[in-house]
Amino acid sequence: MALRLVLHSLRKAFNRRTVFENVATSVSEGETLLIAGRNGSGKSTLVKILCGVLSPGQGSVEIDGAGPLNAFTRKALFGLVSPYLQLYDEFSAMENLQLAAALRGLRGDVRTHQELLVRVALDPKRGDPVHGFSSGMKQRLKYALALAHQPRILILDEPMSNLDADGTAIVRSIMSEQRTHGILVVATNDLSDIDVYERKVDLNVRA
């Protein structure tokens, strides 16, 4: 059975301010979902709800076709890249990848992690502490972290932020690969590729 992510009438408010309401859509394996909206419209809040790190005020997020889920397998479905996802700066790129695997309750596979660092062009810096990385390098490492466990749902919040031309090309290849074998969710202001998304949620309409 194909994986399907269903959003049922989501509403979120902070104190008395409603960020969004009646957000409902569904996206299946092989499809992409665009979450669009101006600054402050709640894109990142919706992304956090999808990943399960924030609870919706009303509504629910349903995952169909993933089989029985426990605390670990549910988290393993998702890979997230976002500006507010922070890395452990005192550790190296490789240590961050190993740590993420251990926190998922898995033994980190060094070879897989090395291949990922090669893919995001960070392999020469794999032993350097992350606090010495530029913002673009940190963004590349976030991609390696998000892909390390081969998530079926990849969520990218402002996917191109801080990336140079090479980094952008890497991300485009990651996105097109995810489209073929999983669900891709992109939250962005950049609507230049709007036609490639099968499903769209426009938070401007609801804000």
């Binding site: 990943c51 924030l54 670990f72 922070q86 251990a102 926190l103 998922r104 309750g105």
Partner: protein
């Protein structure tokens, strides 16, 4: 990924992954602490400074066992307040709390952080007791068994309560002041009991006389860890 666990039953796999995740949280905090020394420096400086002040204020004169037992735990309490909150506060200050939420279940985070605070709290208590016994005149332990068990149970209780309070205050704006204020009423039963047990150890009371204190300490630890486990997911998530 799922292939790794095919030879195990699902509950075994979850338990193993949970233990591995909790250990990863502990080892991450420990390695991070060894590299940054935020909590350790604060704890050591606090203990050394406070014992020096007690030493200067007492001069060459001693004090009663009741007063000395109380002062020992005052040093340990305030030193714990200066260092044991770091484990959660650091995650919030650096913004890595969400990374942990995304990667690992809340129970594993609590277990890893509790383990880290237990080790740090035990180190803090040991350092304080050694310095206190060495420098403070008149601090004599006549019943070692009562004293050692009091120190052990007191450290565990202090670490358990400090961990859940740290999780609560980590998201507040006034972390520094809120931590001791919120901790004091929660730690008061623990502090009163360990002070009393330490006084009994100084007086040379038989072990059986302190049995009531130990029952209170064990009950306190069980209650705090149980309540922490039940509440942590709600504290941690939103």
């Amino acid at each position: 990924m799922s292939g790794r666990w095919t030879s195990m039953s699902a509950p075994d796999a979850i338990v193993l992954r949970w233990i591995r995740a909790a250990l990863a949280v502990f080892l991450k905090d420990w390695r991070s602490e060894l590299r940054t020394r935020y909590a350790m420096s604060a704890l050591v400086m606090f203990v050394v400074t406070t014992i020096s002040i007690i030493l200067f204020s007492l001069g060459g004169e001693g004090a009663s066992p009741e007063v000395l037992a109380g002062m020992l735990w005052v040093v340990i309490f305030f030193a714990a307040m200066s260092g044991l909150s770091r484990t959660f506060v650091m995650e919030e200050e650096r913004g890595t709390g969400m990374t942990l939420q995304l990667l690992t279940p809340p129970g594993a985070v609590l277990a890893g952080k509790l383990l880290f605070n237990l080790v740090l709290g035990a180190g803090l208590t040991l350092l304080t007791v050694v310095l206190y016994a060495f420098f403070i005149n008149g601090f004599i332990v006549r019943t070692l068994s009562i004293f050692l068990l009091t120190i052990a149970l007191g450290s565990v209780g202090l670490a358990a309560a400090s961990t859940i309070i740290a999780a609560i205050i980590a998201r507040a704006n006034t972390k520094g002041t809120l931590y001791p204020v919120l901790s004091f009423p929660i730690l008061l039963p623990l502090l009163m009991t360990v002070i009393n047990a330490t006084r009994l150890a100084s007086d040379g009371a038989p072990f059986s006389e302190a049995a009531g204190e130990f029952q209170i300490l064990i009950s306190y630890i069980v209650v705090v860890i149980t309540v922490s486990t039940l509440l942590f997911e709600y504290i941690w998530k939103d």
